[in-house]
């Protein structure tokens, strides 16, 4: 028996050593990445709000995430007296593991994917990341607090509602590829020479809105609306448990941004990947890195202490090295084979960052929806629109096949479809407006029912 | 002070503007006060403002509104004076509700700005309940006073001016004046278990403090 088990373990390790290693790497590195995303968010927020943001820990606050992580780890771990201990313990773990598991399905470049070539790629990512909702619901319930429970209920109602819209938006894009495999999806965009965001703009819009709602970001951050429900389902969590939720939230952001990038924004493809006269675009990554490095160098003498100056120099150096690495595959013939991997990774991360930047930008700019407004937006606007869009895209594809259109030519049929969807959207909005004109005190009362 | 010049705009002003506005320099109150001292006999010996002869600030009030009220309520209107050109009506406690209704509906004093009380422990009826009314159509204020002894209940005016609700609770909280007919007369600013009524003149704050310290900190005195 023991020998059999041992043998099985060896077999398992032999077959799966690479994904396992990647998994460990994800779990180890992701918190760091999330920490720096938070720092970037705070810096952006500060910039938009006419202030500086974190400046104390490290030059320009660059070590702030580490300080925060240490603080969270050594904080007192409080479990409320009447809480359901087991569930309280389980909930954050569920949340974070679902988010991390979903990351496994993503392809950061043609070379980097943990769950290689699974046939159900995009479904896997979407389905597994949706499991994180249990962490929220159970956490809210286990805290035994009204605020938490209301936050949890809001959250689950919101997630279930917007998942429908997001799924429908995904279907619209999947119609173009005919496969669920993530690599195949990107390759389809490469083959067509056009990103699906141009072919299915309405679907992209629907997914964008739904993904913000799914990750509980402003203006849909009701579950944790701090002005009403204190911190929603996280109210009673503190220290490390709380940071797990935090981690899950940002990991989820990465997941939805990656899905959108893969499906709509051409994944790891460079813009105009097959237009040879635009190959100069290959120098853009290097240029970006060099600019960042130059900025850091320029700031170095202004740092108050020697340590900070050294740190700034180190950052500049790192950026410079990255720039060289990005430059190498373009100019050095020997490094050519690494082109797809390195530049693919760069473009993918670049697009994901833009998507997340958009999230942050929204958060600092607009107020929060009220819960009934949010539900109405989901059920009365987004879901009908995305369903109609699926139909229209389907019709457009049939027409495209009939006229034998390819690539940019498909725009001839998809643009009218998008225009019709737009008209439908405006009609829905107008209808909503006339509905909203009368005070609907009753309509909102059963919004938990969806 | 500067708000007085604008007040006599409406002609039917019932507050004590008439004697004041007949004197020419409206914007110089010290001079005006000496003028006002001439026609009226001094009801009380006022503490003198340093360089000047005794000033009389409280004069009897006799205008349209007071006349109408005299006719309507008779003896219920105990006193009508004005102090520094602000009209004060002292009315009978028992008829407060009727007078309030009449003030609100007929005299258009539609807002109750403030309701409070003053404690005069040496008087027979120790409390003054003071209502500060304002009329939007006439743009004038009127002060209504009711005398009440320690155990006497004052009719609540919440039914007339809902804004009296919390203010009566506050008066109850601070003075222990019971307003009969108030929907929920509980302490509002102080904790429910508080002892005594702090704004009474005989309320010894030190004693309360010492008691609290003894009870909660277990030591003899905090002072």
């Amino acid at each position: 028996m023991m020998q059999a088990l041992f043998q099985a373990t060896i077999e398992f390790l032999k077959a799966f050593w690479a994904p396992l290693l990647c998994g460990v790497a994800i779990v180890a590195i992701l918190p760091l990445i999330v920490g720096y995303i938070v720092l970037v968010e705070r810096k952006l927020m500060a910039d938009m709000q006419a202030r500086l943001g974190p400046m104390r820990v490290g030059p320009h606050g660059l070590l702030q995430p580490i300080a925060d992580a240490v603080k969270l780890l050594i904080k007192e771990d409080i479990i409320p007296d009447d809480a359901d201990k087991l569930v309280f313990w389980l909930a954050p773990v569920l949340s974070v593991s679902a988010a991390l598991l979903a990351l496994a399905g993503l392809a950061i470049g043609p070379a980097f994917q943990i769950a290689q070539d699974i046939n159900i790629g995009i479904l896997f990512v979407v389905g597994v990341s949706a499991l994180g909702i249990f962490g929220i619901v159970l956490g809210g319930w286990a805290s035994n607090s009204h605020y938490s429970l209301m936050g949890a209920l809001r959250s689950s109602a919101q997630l279930v509602s917007y998942e429908t819209a997001a799924g429908m938006a995904l279907v619209s894009a999947l119609l173009f590829t005919g496969t669920l495999n993530i690599k195949a999806i990107v390759e389809a965009q490469s083959k067509e020479g056009i990103w699906f965001v141009l072919l299915a703009p309405v679907a992209f819009f629907c997914y964008l809105v739904a993904s913000i709602a799914e990750t509980n970001r402003a203006p849909f951050d009701l579950p944790e609306a701090e002005s009403e429900l204190v911190a929603g389902y996280m109210t009673e969590f503190s220290g490390f448990r709380w940071s797990l939720y935090f981690l899950a939230e940002y990991a989820n952001m990465i997941v939805v941004a990656s899905v959108a990038t893969t499906l709509f924004l051409g994944g790891w493809l460079r813009p105009f990947a097959h237009v040879s006269w635009l190959n100069v675009l290959d120098f853009v990554p290097t240029l970006l890195m060099v600019i960042v490095a130059a900025y850091c160098l320029q700031r170095t003498p202004k740092q108050p202490t020697r340590v900070q100056q050294m740190f700034m120099l180190a950052v500049a150096g790192l950026c410079f090295v990255l720039g060289i690495v990005l430059l190498a595959p373009v100019v050095v013939p020997i490094a050519k084979p690494f082109y797809a991997g390195i530049h693919g990774g760069f473009w993918f991360i670049f697009k994901v960052s833009l998507y997340i930047y958009f999230f942050m930008w929204l958060r600092f700019t607009i107020p929060r929806y009220r819960f009934d407004q949010l539900m109405r937006l989901g059920w009365h606007f987004l879901i009908p629109l995305s369903i109609i869009n699926v139909l229209l895209v389907g019709v457009a594809l049939i027409a495209g096949a009939y006229f034998n259109l390819k690539g940019w030519g498909l725009l001839l049929v998809t643009t009218p479809a998008a225009v019709i969807a737009l008209v439908v959207a405006l009609l829905i909005l107008a209808a909503e407006k006339s509905r909203g004109a009368r005070p609907d005190q009753t309509a909102a009362s059963d919004f938990y029912a969806g | 002070m500067a708000d007085e010049p604008k007040e006599p705009k409406p002609p039917q002003v019932p507050t004590g503007e008439e004697p004041a506005s007949s004197t020419p320099p409206v914007s110089a109150p010290p001079a005006k006060a000496t003028d006002a001292s001439a026609p009226a006999p001094p009801p009380k010996a006022a503490a003198p403002a340093p360089p000047k002869p005794p000033v009389v600030l409280q004069t009897p009030l006799d205008n349209e509104l007071v006349k109408r009220f005299r006719a309507k309520f008779g003896a219920a209107l105990l006193d009508a004076t004005e102090d520094r050109k602000q009209a004060i009506l002292t009315v009978d406690r028992a008829q407060l509700l009727e007078i309030s209704l009449s003030l609100r509906d007929e005299e258009k004093f539609d807002m109750l700005s403030s309701l409070t009380a003053v404690d005069w422990p040496k008087r027979e009826k120790r409390f003054d309940v003071v209502l500060e009314l304002y009329s939007f159509p006439k743009n004038e204020r009127l002060r209504l006073k009711i005398h009440a002894a320690d155990a006497e209940e004052v009719p609540s005016v919440v039914s007339v001016w809902p804004s009296a609700n919390w203010q009566e609770r506050e008066a109850f909280d601070m003075f222990g004046i019971v307003f009969s007919g108030h929907p929920e007369l509980r302490r509002i600013l102080l904790p429910d278990e508080w002892q005594g009524y702090p704004l009474r003149k005989d309320y010894d704050i030190l004693q309360q403090d010492t008691a609290w310290v003894r009870e909660n900190l277990g030591i003899e005195s905090g002072q």
């Binding site: 087991l86 046939n119 499991l131 209920l153 279930v160 669920l180 029912a449 | -």
Partner: protein, 172 residues
């Protein structure tokens, strides 16, 4: 070998959590164990290289139905549910049904290979890389071989959905 270990691993979890689900007093705990059982079943699907079934199991049962379950559980008052006696009067009925089911499954196993066309079909394993693509296979069988039953099922679901909406509307 690995397959077998994985199978027993998932099966063990599934059975254990199914038992725990029935015996827990706290409804939310039961729900959690039900989720675990469903996830373990999904794991078995994956181990059988039925990826599509695996993800459908997760999306539909775990991500869809169980969320609504938990949702409803939170809306009802838990204290009332705790006071009610479990296994109210159906103990013997349940036992009977379980025995009957066990007998049936036993018969199935016993008859395998004894008679042609009866019992469990014995399949020969195909190498993983030569398996047909999962979702495509499911799609073909659903939309070609079994189109009519599929459509009937969809209509049935649609009717159920409309019925639910009508019932919910009537109440308010």
């Amino acid at each position: 070998m690995l397959d077998r270990v994985l199978f027993y691993f998932f099966a063990g979890i599934a059975v254990a959590s199914a038992v725990l689900m029935v015996t827990r007093r706290n409804v939310v705990h039961s729900a959690i164990f039900l989720i675990t059982a469903l996830l373990a079943t999904a794991g078995i699907f994956l181990q059988l290289r039925a990826e599509f079934l695996f993800i459908v199991q997760i999306i539909l049962y775990v991500g869809g139905i169980m969320v609504l379950f938990v949702f409803v559980i939170m809306l009802v008052n838990l204290d009332v549910a705790l006071q009610q006696i479990q296994f109210a009067r159906q103990k013997w009925v349940a036992l009977l049904v379980t025995l009957a089911l066990a007998g049936q499954v036993g018969l199935l196993f016993w008859s395998s290979g004894k008679m042609p066309g009866q019992g469990l079909p014995v399949l020969t394993a195909t190498a993983a890389e030569r398996l047909p693509l999962n979702s495509e296979t499911v799609a073909h069988s659903l939309f070609e071989s079994y189109l009519l039953p599929f459509e009937i099922a969809s209509v049935l679901l649609l009717v159920a959905m409309i019925g639910a909406v009508v019932m919910a509307k009537k109440r308010t």
